[in-house]
Amino acid sequence: MSATTNLIGRTTTRRKRLREALTAYAFISPWIIGFVLFMGGPILASFILSSFRWKLIAPPRFIGFNHYIKMFTTDELFQLSIGVTFKYVLVSVPLAQVLALSLALLLNQRIRLLGFWRIVFYLPAVVSGVAGSVLWSWMYHNQLGIINNLLLLVGIQGPNWLFDKEIVLGSLIVKSLWNVGVPMIIYLAGLQGMPQELYEAAEIDGAGEWVEFWKISLPMLSPVIFFNVIMGFISGLQTFAEPYVMTGGGPDNATLFLGLHLYQSAFHYLKMGYASAMAWVMFLLILTLTLVQFKLGSRWVYYEAEA
């Protein structure tokens, strides 16, 4: 008797679980369908495509790994675009973190009108993409732009920001620092969530602010820094709108970002197969860089729960 109720009980819980699981799959089905159609499927497809020479008009022709070989041996533009992209990311991401963290520290002081200052530093992040790029092209204008005109006021003849191949990448980096609002807000939230006991204890021990920053704030913030760095890398490697609008990749290909090169190969020259191969290299780059950062991160990121 009790065995049967037990059995019934077990089957009902099992049935309940099954029902719950089926409901759950129904709820996540949009993501599964979307993933298959717009992500997983296309990624596989682009790998297959990358082994074909296909210019849309003529039928595709199988060429194996030739695209990848060409990329790393004879295609100087590709290698150049990798270099440009890396230089940009390796300089702009750390600079952005330093600026964002400094702003957050400044806002975390006892200041009046916190809301106002926060808006000021966040606002540029809303003007990203095309409008921001158009605006900065105008700021950087050689004779008419505000930057060179302000420099003239103090007697400096400013450079031709977007047409000098030596400094154009720097100009784009400066522009990217203007959009530092999101990491700044995340750092500020991290700072505001700091346990005050730590600082109190440090003060009793006679630690100064400088020591407090290096020994408490920074280690406690390290997971947040880690997150911001990874997100910065991922979006930095995909930079597109800025070079497309501001420089068109020039001068002399000095701002030919990987994303731009890929776009041009696919949609100007209709090299669908070759563009797919490049896209795969970009994907692998992001994957490797993220994994490397996770590996390195385990050395410097401090998680409270582990301590």
Binding site: A21, I28, A131, P195, Q196, V245
Partner: protein
């Protein structure tokens, strides 16, 4: 008497909460530092200098947008436009024929605005609906493979659009959807990784007791999701909506690939092609006026939903 009591009590509560909130602010704003006068001066000095730098582009945009055309090419520039040309905004949005070269056959700007609005509204609604459904399953239900799926969703954050761009383009081509708005609308009804994560984090903070009580009363999971979780998650949904709005409004690469005839262009494409319509010299005052108008909806939205916006960034668990 009871009412009187309640009023006094709530007044007291308010007083108390006011006191705690002030304490809380001091606590948040870094009471650990003893602010000397010099220090205060340094902090505000830095703030003012940095704020000026951050606002400089906005000043330059507004300044240029309001100039008469003959002042645009003056060196040194006029720092304050005189007379203020409000008509630039009108011109930037309507100019055809006289000043423009080729665009006399192009559709009026409101058509672009309509396209952008359509894409944005669809994107916001699609993202809200689909991402919240997926997030609900991860926050509230148990199913085999849950963790694998969750990690899977998060790792799609690493997939650049460029990787899927070419195959997607071929899909749209075969569906005969190129140069229509469909490819810019349909894919946003399938959940987006970041928003799923954000909403799941928020849903987890809602007490499970509500769900259990509703289940007892015979509510279905869908009822719980739609009638309990969603209404209680308005702040998080607002944050997602604002993010999505800014994202879709500014989207560029998608429309650039898909759209080719002017009737279908969006505002960002219009802005990029703005100078094509002119001979040689770029009318920067009109260009800036157009850029300003196009950015305005995002700026206004940000001002009115600042709290939701900032909250959205912090929901994700960085705030203890």
């Amino acid at each position: 008497m009871a009412v009187q009591d309640l009023v006094t009590k709530s007044n007291q509560d308010m007083d108390n909460s006011a006191v705690t909130s002030i304490d809380f602010r001091v606590f948040l704003l870094g009471s650990q530092f003893k602010p000397g006068l010099l220090r205060q001066l340094m902090v505000y000095g830095l703030l003012i200098v940095l704020a000026a730098l951050f606002l400089l582009p906005f000043y330059w945009m507004v300044n240029t947008a309001l100039k008469p055309s003959n002042q645009v090419f003056r060196v040194p520039p006029t720092w304050f436009p005189k007379p203020v040309m409000w008509s630039n905004f009108y011109k930037a949005m309507t100019m055809r024929g006289t000043e423009a070269r080729v665009s006399s056959s192009a559709p009026p700007v409101y058509k672009y605005a309509l396209n952008t609005t359509l894409i944005t509204v669809n994107g916001v609604v699609g993202t809200l609906m689909s991402s919240s459904m997926v997030a609900y399953a991860f926050a509230r239900l148990k199913f085999p493979g849950q963790n694998v799926f969750f990690v899977g969703i998060l790792s799609t954050l690493m997939i650049p659009f460029a990787v899927v761009m070419v195959p997607q383009f071929i899909i749209w081509k075969n569906l005969n959807w190129l140069d229509t708005l469909w490819p810019l609308m349909v894919p946003h009804w399938f959940g987006s990784a970041w928003n799923i994560f954000l909403l799941r984090q928020f849903f987890m903070t809602i007490p499970v007791d509500y769900d259990e009580a509703a289940l007892m009363d015979g509510a279905s999971r869908w009822d719980i999701y739609w009638r309990i979780i969603m209404p209680l998650s308005r702040p998080a949904l607002a944050a997602v909506a604002v993010f999505a709005f800014v994202y879709f409004w500014n989207d560029f690469l998608g429309p650039l690939i898909i759209l080719s005839t002017p009737e279908n262009f969006t505002l960002t494409i219009y802005l990029v092609n703005f100078t094509v319509a002119f001979w040689q010299v770029t009318p920067w005052h009109l260009y800036m006026a157009a850029a300003l108008i196009i950015t305005l909806p995002c700026l206004i939205l940000f001002f009115f939903s600042q709290r939701a916006f900032l909250k959205g960034i912090t929901i994700t668990g960085f705030k203890r």
